[in-house]
């Protein structure tokens, strides 16, 4: 579930407000968006990869917040980790040409 909008990383572009398919965020007058409807989050991790500054963190537990802190996410280098695994960077798509899923399907 979405848990962290890092005010230090966020550049207030409001892209997450636009792209979150379940309308979890609200834009604010001056500042980073807020998590307004956390329970609607479907833990799809897509806001993370669209964020140009890796300012969002979605924890793995889908049923409710875990209470993980921004300090821990920074220390464990988890900000942007899903985007890096896909090959996306700074909110831009990339990496699908290196997807080895066809090898898995053969092994299956």
């Amino acid at each position: 579930m979405i848990e962290i909008v890092s005010a230090t990383r966020c550049v207030e572009c409001d892209i997450c407000v636009k792209v979150c398919p379940t309308n979890v965020f609200d834009a604010t007058e001056h500042g980073a968006p807020v998590i307004a409807r956390q329970d609607d989050c479907q833990t799809c991790f897509l806001c993370e990869i669209y964020c140009p500054t890796d300012a969002l963190y979605v924890a793995e537990f889908a049923e409710g917040p875990t209470g993980i802190t921004e300090v821990e996410v920074e220390e464990r280098l988890l900000f942007g980790s899903y985007a890096r695994a896909l090959g996306w960077a700074r909110g831009k798509a990339g990496g699908s040409q290196f997807d080895p899923t066809h090898r898995i399907r053969v092994a299956q």
């Binding site: 407000v17 636009k18 792209v19 979150c20 398919p21 379940t22 309308n23 609607d40 989050c41 479907q42 833990t43 799809c44 991790f45 897509l46 990869i49 669209y50 924890a59 793995e60 537990f61 889908a62 049923e63 988890l78 980790s81 899903y82 695994a85 896909l86 996306w88 798509a93 990496g95 699908s96 040409q97 290196f98 997807d99 080895p100 899923t101 066809h102 090898r103 898995i104 399907r105 092994a107 299956q108």
Partner: protein, 541 residues
């Protein structure tokens, strides 16, 4: 571009030839196909075209069968697995159109991976990339895209569907699009299970279509569940192909032959389901060789997000797992299609993707893992073409003055709205009947009867009293759709007095030859269920 005007109250009122409802792959393909035939197209999605739906967060393998003599054999083989309910003519049409659209994607420059010999591998579409790419194609085609515009109801002029209305949930006003044809591409019903894409998939299209007079098919086939790390949203079974499974005390879970289970997908889900009913189950992906481990990590990165974030090495540590209910998303039920252009039988109303009944493609077994995404590629195309042809035929006709909105349950209750009938509680009550493994994975006549009684009582409250105001309008309508879908599912399951595919009746374990046909359900409040034995030739042709 469709004409737009904002009325005095700032509500959005648009005119289009074709209105597509939804924002997943089938909606995107329908919009592109309709625009390509010259129609002015608007697309209204509950979420954001590019991230919403079941495909965007996932990585979908397609059913990719190149042209050639082999096609018939491949289709025949797959048909053998469908519990005799699929239709090979539809299967062949689908692989053909899906293949063409996969080629179209590569011509458009979608970044497919390459095989060792350098040829593009077009049989797999990585969700976030694919849907972002499709958004661009839809916009390039000149389609007016309305993100965060959930549809609440269809509009009718008495003869045909002439548009839809809903709310612009971020802007806070209502919207209405007058159109000569509407494509429902609103996806399946996940009964609010916390799965990838699940939040928005509440079966709204089923209720809208049924209110307009369309039928549904295969609603009993909601018994598909997929493994996921416990508490996570990752309902992707693939890595569990190479797993071992253990009970709380460490003892291995055994397969049908008495050997420890080393593959947890497909039919093996039965063993895991049985064990999960008894108590917690743990897995380890210890059957994957090192090379495969690397491919899994690189090819299915989201599967590893839960492990990495929870500090688990899934190849060496035991971790707790669950089976996630998937309703009609990986089930096969949905709106019944009556002709090759994906028409519903209601003039002006077309259907594509998971919103449609997919028994014609995959029968009583899940189409997840290949068939469903090809079906979205093909049915979206046909529905878009069908809708634009219908729009052209209606082009001369002026809009009749008497446009009626068709929404009932959750929107215009039959009696006085009551504040104590809340959307959240309705959804919980339905979930209690249609998601527990011991009620819905393994079913029984007596259990289904009890569920049916409870769902009837939930439905009466919904029908008579549920209504949401402002932002809660959408929630109330979603709850009504979930209640309707749950009720149809249990009623159809009671009607199918046998076991077939994902419909597992513990009281009636075998297949009944007399039921080797589809079940069609028609009506919202009062409904009837009919078999399709009158169409056996089509089923097996």
């Amino acid at each position: 571009m469709p004409k737009s005007q904002k009325s005095a109250s700032d509500n959005l009122h648009l005119q289009a030839d074709v209105l597509v409802l939804g924002g997943g792959p089938s909606a995107a393909w329908a919009a592109v196909a309709a625009a390509e035939s010259g129609a002015r197209v608007a697309l209204a999605d509950k979420g954001y075209l590019g991230t919403s739906g079941a495909t965007a967060p996932s990585n979908t393998g397609t059913w990719c069968v190149p042209p050639g003599d082999n096609r018939h054999a491949v289709v025949e083989r797959r048909w053998q697995r469908t519990g005799e309910l699929a239709d090979q003519r539809w299967m062949l049409r689908c692989v053909d159109t899906a293949y063409r659209n996969l080629l179209r994607l590569s011509e458009w420059g979608y970044p497919f991976p390459s095989e060792d010999d350098g040829r593009l591998y077009i049989a797999n579409l990585r969700g976030p990339d694919y849907m972002r790419f499709m958004r661009r194609r839809v916009l390039l085609a000149g389609v007016t895209v309305l993100d965060h515009h959930p549809a609440l109801e269809l509009l009718s002029d008495g003869d045909a569907i002439v548009g839809a209305g809903g709310v612009a949930r971020q802007a806070g006003h209502d919207w209405r699009v007058d159109a000569k044809a509407v494509v429902l591409a609103t996806g399946g019903c996940a009964f609010r299970e916390r799965i990838l894409g699940g939040t928005g998939l509440t079966g709204d299209g089923y209720l809208m279509a049924a209110e307009a007079g369309a039928s549904l098919s295969g609603m009993e086939f909601t018994g598909k569940y997929t493994l996921a790390p416990y508490g996570s949203s990752l309902n992707k079974g693939l890595p569990f192909r190479w797993a071992s499974f253990h009970r709380e005390d460490g003892s291995p879970i055994l397969g049908p032959t008495g050997e420890p289970l080393r593959n947890g997908i497909g039919d093996r889900e039965d063993e895991v389901a049985r064990a999960l009913i008894d108590g917690p189950v743990y897995a380890r992906l210890d059957q994957a060789e090192p090379a495969l481990q690397g491919w899994l990590r690189q090819g299915q990165p989201n599967c590893f997000v839960p492990y990495d974030r929870a500090g688990i090495d899934p190849f060496s540590d035991l971790f707790r797992i669950t089976l996630r209910a998937e309703g009609t998303v990986r089930g096969t039920g949905g709106i019944d299609i009556v002709s090759d252009d994906c028409a519903t039988g209601v003039p002006g109303l077309y259907v594509a993707g998971d919103a449609a009944g997919r028994e014609i493609m995959t029968g009583a077994v899940s189409g997840g893992g290949a068939v469903n995404s090809s079906w979205a590629l093909a049915s979206g195309w046909w529905a878009g073409k069908g809708a634009s042809t219908h729009a052209k035929r209606r082009a001369g006709k002026a809009f009749r003055g008497t446009v009626q909105p068709l929404g009932q349950a959750g929107l215009r209750p039959a009696a006085t709205p009551r504040a104590d009938i809340a959307a959240g509680e309705v959804i919980e009550a339905v979930r209690n009947e249609v998601t527990p493994l011991d009620k819905n994975f393994f079913r029984s006549g007596a259990g289904l009867e009890k569920s049916s009684e409870r769902l009837e009582s939930v439905w009466r409250d919904v029908r008579d009293h549920l209504r949401g105001e402002g932002a809660d309008k959408v929630r109330a309508r979603e709850a009504a759709s979930i209640a309707a879908a749950g009720r149809w599912s249990v009623a159809s399951a009671l009607h199918r007095t046998e076991s077939r595919g994902m419909h597992r009746r513990t009281d009636l374990p075998g297949k009944s030859p007399a039921l080797a046909h589809r079940l069609i359900i028609t009506g919202v409040d009062a409904f009837r269920i009919e078999g399709t034995p009158e169409r056996p030739a089509e089923l097996a042709s």
